[in-house]
């Protein structure tokens, strides 16, 4: 094994973690393993959304990333919530998410901040999330403009999500990140359109990962919702038992 004297990216990466912990007890996060694209079920996609957000002479990539991290959820479409960690978007932090799904269902899950530096940050999904993989948010200069970019590398986590992705899930995801980038661009006074590129990196489905459905956060969020009245009714008895 080699020893490198200086890993200048060391502080930008999260420390290895076996299982995630949500500080607020959000469901579908604590105890879940982070998942890479290789750990999912469906086809592997690389989707890139990018938009020019300003003139490179006036707006540095670092300024874009600083604003994006600070106001991350403000740029999201209505109905979706990102519960930012107290320490902000920093390596190793875990954020909880509530995502609006069709039929009024709320999908509760989370993300691990895998990498974060001045020019980019990456969020990695846990087991049960719609997709296994990560999203990298970056800013860079190209042709005299400063661009903001979100790039997703993912597989749908399980067979149910894979069906959902092909029945409108991909369209919904595209709309989510296009809205986010438009809002970010508008924050910097730009109204340029968002460019989208979708590449199917691997058409094969990994049937050995079909069992991921056990952690499906959509199913578990639905069960949590319908069992809420039972939990409410049993609360006084739980208090009584403690007393």
């Amino acid at each position: 094994m080699s020893t490198h004297p200086d890993n200048r990216d060391a502080s930008a990466w999260a420390r290895p973690v076996e299982r995630l912990t949500a500080s607020d007890g959000h469901i579908n996060v604590t105890g879940r393993r982070p998942t890479a694209p290789m750990n999912g079920f469906g086809r592997m996609w690389q989707k890139t959304y990018r938009a020019p957000v300003g003139d490179a002479a006036e707006l540095a990539p670092e300024q874009v990333i600083a604003a994006w991290k600070e106001r991350f959820s403000e740029f999201w479409p209505a109905g979706n919530r990102f519960f930012a960690p107290l320490a902000g978007i920093a390596p190793g932090e875990v954020a909880a998410l509530d995502l609006a799904m069709p039929g009024g269902l709320k999908l509760s899950t989370g993300v691990l901040v895998l990498f974060s530096d001045e020019e980019s940050f990456t969020l990695m999904t846990p087991e049960g999330h719609m997709f296994a993989g990560w999203i990298t948010f970056s800013a860079f200069v190209e042709g005299g403009s400063t661009y903001a970019q979100a790039q997703v590398l993912m597989r749908a986590s399980d067979p149910l999500y894979e069906v959902g992705m092909s029945l409108g899930g991909h369209r919904q995801e595209d709309a989510h990140w296009m809205h986010t980038l438009s809002s970010l661009a508008a924050h910097f006074g730009s109204a340029a359109p968002v460019e989208v590129q979708s590449i199917c990196v691997d058409r094969r489905r990994q049937w050995s990962r079909a069992g991921n459905v056990w952690h499906n956060a959509g199913i578990r969020s639905g069960l949590h919702m319908v069992s809420a009245p039972i939990r409410m009714m049993s609360r006084p008895f739980a208090r009584g038992a403690k007393a």
Binding site: M1, A12, L114, D202
Partner: protein
């Protein structure tokens, strides 16, 4: 076969094993260079060994490129192995679960022996 920050060298120590030595930085800008190196290494190879002895910097976009390279190799029924990872990058492979699909070895000789 290099851009300003990524330096790649391809060698074939045996007829069926190719080594790609990765030096400098691996970032989103390394995409074309890595693809070119893989295409060159892939010819007749049953295993691709990635050498990280001289890796100086890799961000999450760089890890993403390794994932897509892995997919291409799997499609071609090639094994991917690695050597020369510092403790820091071993931890990153563990965190991103690349260590579950890329066999990590301490030296080039060990990786080539395992590939053979």
């Amino acid at each position: 076969m290099s851009d300003t920050a990524t330096r790649l060298q391809v060698r074939k120590p045996t007829p069926t094993v190719a080594v790609i030595e990765i030096a400098g930085e691996v970032t989103r800008d390394s995409d074309a260079a890595l693809k070119e190196a893989y295409d060159q290494a892939s010819e007749g190879a049953r295993a691709i060994v990635l050498g990280f002895d001289s890796l100086e910097y890799m961000n999450s976009s760089g890890i993403g490129l390794l994932v897509t390279l892995l997919v291409r190799a799997q499609r071609n029924r090639q094994q991917i192995l690695a050597y020369g990872l510092s403790d820091h990058y071993r931890q990153i492979f563990e965190l991103t679960r690349l260590d579950e699909v890329i066999a990590i070895h301490d030296s080039e000789a060990a990786a080539i022996a395992a590939a053979g």
